[in-house]
Symmetry: C2
Subunit: 460 residues, 2 copies
């Protein structure tokens, strides 16, 4: 497959067609995503019909939308009609409103009803990603009757492995599984095979529902309305997709950018730049704080120029220590290991970790710094050691500050409802930078008062 | 549950016991993980037997290991015996070798054989996490016979939903599902219900197998040996655990730390510090490069002290731009959107993104910088604008450099077999810092040659 794009450029249609027909749908979907727009449209057209349908289902919604634009109306109907209702809703979210209405009008009345029902939920609600096609049982059925029911209506359902059990008024009263139904003696009542249901409301946030499904190790999570009536099931493959998307979002935010809405190689340069521009600008404006701090301490800088040499090293180390703490704590929050009530414990641990790490670095910096300053300046060993001492003490203070702030910010953000990843590494770096400089110059004032008073002497 | 630790401290055993008995196993596992060691041991003992077994299965292996230490031999046998073979292997990895042998000796011969088979695979191989308890079918069976087979041997199997089909010599020749078997007419041959198998070798890396399962939307992936003979199945819940673990590992590495081997609140302060110490030290040593660069340009720094004020802002911005690119590309590599052969395309896009972003920042910096310098220094508008111009031009160069380097490093790392997350944000930051300073002072030399020649005048 290395040469798919070459085959397309060389217009070697027959070879390309043979290559393509031999691939698995999900491999093909990945390959198509990596082609450019025109090549993708051409390659898609070379696929045999059945494979094209399977590949279409495996593509990301933005790519699906793009491919649909080039298709004739009857092909659009066929491709969109084949999708599961929840996947169809994801695709419709990508299309312009005009096209959405056209596509909806072309669906069978049954498919249209299922689709518009899902479209009624807010974009982040699990209701949008659930499948309204499930197999529900009654508690009075026997295992044999339940198996019959699965056989008669199971073909259309998205999953038949998780079987919600409902009362006459459609309230969810239990859950069982095809496994239990198949393994049980045929005359066992479903009431004996079902367990207390773990479920979520249709308005629940998708990520929360996905995490619940994952933590409880479920294949599907029954979704209920405000009156506890069953309205759909949320399956593990959609949950995995949600968690994967969240992880991508977190990764982008940890790096100080908004997530891309489409796969990387499909995103335009302008789109990529826009996802980063705002944060980069905000962080640069925040960084002007470091300019103000430095201009406050300009007299010290001029008197002992050697102090300036260590500024990038100090703030870089502070930024790194803060980023380490922030990413650890952000992740611990994401997977539910840490909550807000652990606040004091987390800060206490990070402060101690910071002092430990700062102490280690201080030792190295003191020895290496003294040698470096003495060799390059010949100030006399005592003065060189004093300057290296300023560096060392600052490192301890900065590391303790950075680790604590790095842990504090994501916890506070999470508490007030902001994604902790947003306030992560770069944000903390920029905050710690300015505070770190203040620590550095205050320590310098305390330890080097005579040199500072003597003026520009030490710098030369 | 807010008050579980309080109930334990107050020794209110009855209330605590009632509270605990009313919870779901996976909620309880989470709560227990958040308690301290002693409280956890006490709370675990308060659980009714069945609940304790279920909670034990839901706990992370390090916590399981810790709890086992306090149990009597017969209880150890019971708890360990109840685990699935793959979960048992994960637990055994946590225990001291002496305990492992004791535990193995206590298992039934059948369980012991299954466990030691898995222990024979390397720690990262999917063989360790697969289940050797599956239901395999023959292609000559009918659907009815297959269902009978599931009924007779399915109770012990980890999954009955994915049904591998094997030849007489145990070679994997196809896969079908319980769904297809149940929905098909009873006399359909399995040969008609099976599809080309998607499988992995037992020695395949766990993350790769998990991603394959996820991309192909499978519930379980058949695992084969070098001769294509079926040896186990790798189920989606274990795959999700692997991917979750990988995401945690990536998050830690992006933050410049090694991943914690245990949940955050369980990890000791010393353990946390150790996961971060090496990288922090390496990065600080790398940052000494900035000290050398600055000492090379010390004459310029002394002549135009105002240049020093912008050093943290410039390197901070470069670091942020690099981190943005690095996290985006690292993630795109992790989810398979970008491969090494996209190298040139990715670098080209990032260079353009960098110039776009740098240009935007340069405009802001030029206007704000001119005003700031003119107000604080009174150099005359032309000279103030020239210094701000140095800042602006450097920003463009640094952003382009940072975005390109940020994309380059994870791609090269991935190519040579290093986790791209390792070379992520902090590493790039530190590298870009030194190069950015070189750009800054070279631009200053070019644009401010007269001021630099005039000496210390401009700084005051």
């Amino acid at each position: 497959m290395e040469q798919l794009d070459r085959l397309l450029r060389d217009q070697a249609w027959d070879t390309a067609r043979r290559e393509l027909a031999g691939m698995r749908p999900f491999d093909l979907a990945e390959e198509l995503t990596r082609l450019d727009r025109t090549e993708r449209a051409v390659a898609f057209r070379l696929l045999p019909k059945d494979l094209a349908l399977a590949v279409f289902e495996a593509l990301d919604p933005p790519v699906q939308g793009e491919l649909l634009e080039g298709l004739r109306a009857d092909a659009v109907r066929e491709f969109v009609g084949r999708l599961d209702p929840d996947d169809r809703v994801e695709l419709l979210d990508e299309l312009p409103a005009k096209v959405v209405n056209k596509v909806l009008a072309d669906l069978s009345p049954h498919e249209r009803r299922l689709t518009t029902e899902l479209l009624g939920y807010p974009p982040d609600a699990v209701g949008r990603m659930m499948s309204p096609e499930y197999v529900a049982l009654k508690s009075t059925m026997t295992a044999a009757q339940a198996l019959e029911r699965v056989r008669s209506v199971g073909t259309a359902a998205e999953t038949v492995y998780t079987l919600p059990v409902i009362a006459e008024d459609r309230r969810l009263i239990g859950v069982t599984s095809l496994r239990r139904v198949v393994l049980a003696p045929p005359d066992t009542r479903i009431a004996e095979l079902m367990t207390e249901p773990i479920s979520a409301r249709a308005l629940t946030d998708q990520e929360r529902a996905a995490r619940l499904l994952q933590e409880a190790d479920l294949l599907a999570l029954p979704i209920v309305d405000a009156e506890d009536r069953l309205v759909g099931v949320f399956t593990f493959d959609d949950a995995m997709e949600v968690l994967e998307g969240e992880a991508t979002e977190d990764a982008a935010r940890i790096g100080g950018a908004e997530p891309l809405s489409v796969p990387y190689l499909i995103a335009g340069v302008g789109h990529i730049a826009r996802t980063r521009a705002l944060w980069l600008l905000v962080l640069m404006v925040a960084a002007t704080l470091t300019v103000l701090v430095l201009s406050t301490f300009e007299a010290e800088l001029e008197a002992v120029v050697v102090l300036a040499l260590f500024v990038p090293l100090l703030i870089g180390t502070g930024g790194n220590a803060g980023a380490q703490a922030a990413t650890t704590v952000t992740r611990a929050i994401a997977v539910g290991e840490v909550r807000f009530r652990d606040f004091a414990r987390v800060l206490g641990r990070e402060a101690r970790v910071g002092v430990l790490l700062g102490g280690m670095l201080a030792l190295v910096a003191f020895l290496a710094g003294t040698v470096f300053i003495e060799v390059t300046r010949q100030l006399g060993l005592a003065d060189s050691a004093r300057i290296a001492g300023v560096l060392s003490l600052s490192l301890i203070g900065i590391c303790a500050l950075a680790a604590t702030a790095g842990a504090l910010m994501p916890m506070v953000a999470h508490r007030i409802g902001i994604d902790p990843a947003v306030v992560s590494a770069p944000f903390i770096t920029t905050t710690v930078d300015a505070t770190g400089l203040v620590i550095y110059f205050l320590v310098a004032r305390a330890l080097l008062s005579d040199m500072l008073a003597a003026g520009a002497g030490a710098g030369a």
